[in-house]
């Protein structure tokens, strides 16, 4: 009788352990997509920054803070895009582990915008590292290792899921290389709303000419807009690109002045609701739009 009870108890506890999910909060749509792919049904995921929300402007609500406090891991992209992070860490205390998924990625730096717009000056790190597929592969490895450390019982599942996702990213990279090769290098001039595509530019030989700075809160000066108009006319740029979460007012003015067309909306700060609900979809949509617009 005792042995039967022991077997029943052991089975109960092992079943309970098998169903215990790793609670993960995510502060970016990019880390949410990585976490879904690596964690699968072994994690309980709270995506706090939803598709179409500007991460430059996002501020967690009290209910978000509660969800974060209940989580074991919090995934963020880093490089100063989550300006509220220090306060959030102080608020939820040391129980929750914050995982900087961009920690192993070498940041591109660039000159900061004009003073008076609420961010640091001199040079600043570009936080939009997800526009390089190579960087997302590095972040996937960070997420996989964090999940294994927090939930070693499901190590083989996380390893297999991550390997499958990395293979998908390899396919995506091959597709992207072939897509961009359709466009002559002389036409790889990317005029966008804000400065979010430096990593893409570095991988595929584009020159980026943003209207705004790194943050969507930056205001373009009239001098900068005039210089852009001259550049677009001089270099014969065929299209300029808006963003899914930005008002394309200035870009529309630029198209009127230059004759360049509005090439479409790009997903700069994360995933969207329609064509870009997953990371591979976002990359495919953005590159198809860019190459189609500039050809």
């Amino acid at each position: 009788m005792k042995s039967i009870l022991a077997i029943l108890l052991t089975s109960f506890f092992s079943l309970a352990a098998a169903h215990a999910e790793l609670k993960v909060a995510s502060l970016s749509t990019i880390t949410t997509d990585i976490a879904k792919n690596v964690g699968g049904d072994k994690i309980d995921l709270f995506p706090l920054v939803k598709a179409g929300v500007d991460p430059h402007e996002f501020q967690p609500t009290p209910s978000d803070v509660k969800k974060i406090a209940d989580a074991s891991l919090v995934l963020f992209t880093g490089k100063h895009i989550e300006g509220y992070l220090t306060k959030l860490e102080e608020t939820v205390g040391g129980k929750v582990q914050f995982i900087d998924t961009g920690a192993t990625i070498n940041a591109l730096t660039m000159a900061a915008e004009e003073p008076g717009h609420g961010h640091s000056h001199g040079t600043e790190e570009d936080p939009h590292w997800w526009h390089s597929i190579k960087n997302v592969k590095k972040a996937t490895a960070v997420v996989r290792d964090a999940f294994i450390k927090a939930d070693a019982a499901n190590k083989t599942v996380y390893e297999k899921n991550a390997a499958d996702y990395l293979a998908k990213l390899d396919e995506l990279q091959a597709w992207a290389t072939e897509k961009v090769a359709e466009l002559p290098r002389a036409k790889r001039k990317l005029v966008t709303s804000h400065d979010a595509f430096q990593y893409l530019a570095k991988d595929y030989g584009f020159t980026v000419h943003p209207v705004q700075g790194i943050s969507t809160a930056d205001e373009p000066s009239s001098k900068k807009v005039s210089a852009l108009i001259v550049l677009i006319k001089k270099q014969g740029v065929k299209a300029v690109f808006a963003e899914n979460i930005e008002n394309p007012k200035v870009l529309t003015e630029i198209t009127k002045e230059t004759g360049a067309k509005l090439g479409g909306e790009l997903y700069a700060d994360g995933l969207g609701d329609e064509e870009a609900t997953t990371y591979p979809d976002m990359v495919r949509y953005n590159l198809t739009t860019i190459v189609g617009g500039l050809k």
Binding site: Q173, A174, T177, A181, E182, P184, R185, G205, K233
Partner: protein, 144 residues
């Protein structure tokens, strides 16, 4: 006036000359100076030699520039070379290399070298397992 025919001839000549200026202006061959912003200086064509060395010959293979397939199809030997005449603009040009090996093939490598005369413009090695899709940039200026 009537007794001075040379005066009449002179007036007639002056009249014709004055009329000739606008007629000449309207009918001359126009040589418009293009706006500086629209000047496109075509790069001269260059004779390049592309050499690809495979650790293992692939099953399928292609070289492509924009929409133009330079060569594709049958598996080349370990070393493959192609003479490519191309006008390289200052921004350079991208050559797309695709190759595929059997699914069971071990990790392999492909080395791409591009020469202009005796100058090596490109020397890149790519490592891969079953398939390779890589873009190789020929620089627009000769690296010293």
């Amino acid at each position: 006036m009537e007794g001075r025919p040379w005066v009449r001839i002179a007036l007639l000549l002056i009249g014709f000359s004055l009329l000739g200026v606008p007629v000449w202006s309207m009918t001359r061959e126009k040589r418009l100076r293009p706006a500086l912003s629209n000047v496109v200086i075509a790069a001269p064509a260059q004779q390049l030699r592309v050499i690809i060395t495979f650790a293992e010959p692939p099953l399928s293979f292609s070289l492509k520039y924009l929409d133009e397939v330079l060569c594709e199809g049958a598996a080349p030997d370990r070393e493959f070379s192609y003479n490519w005449e191309i006008a390289v603009p200052p921004e350079g040009v991208d050559l797309l290399l695709k190759a595929g090996w059997p699914p069971s093939a071990p990790k392999t490598a492909a080395r791409v070298e591009i020469f202009r005369d005796d100058t090596r413009l490109v020397d890149q090695t790519f490592w891969t397992q079953n398939s390779l899709v890589e873009s190789v940039t020929v620089p627009g200026t000769n690296p010293e």
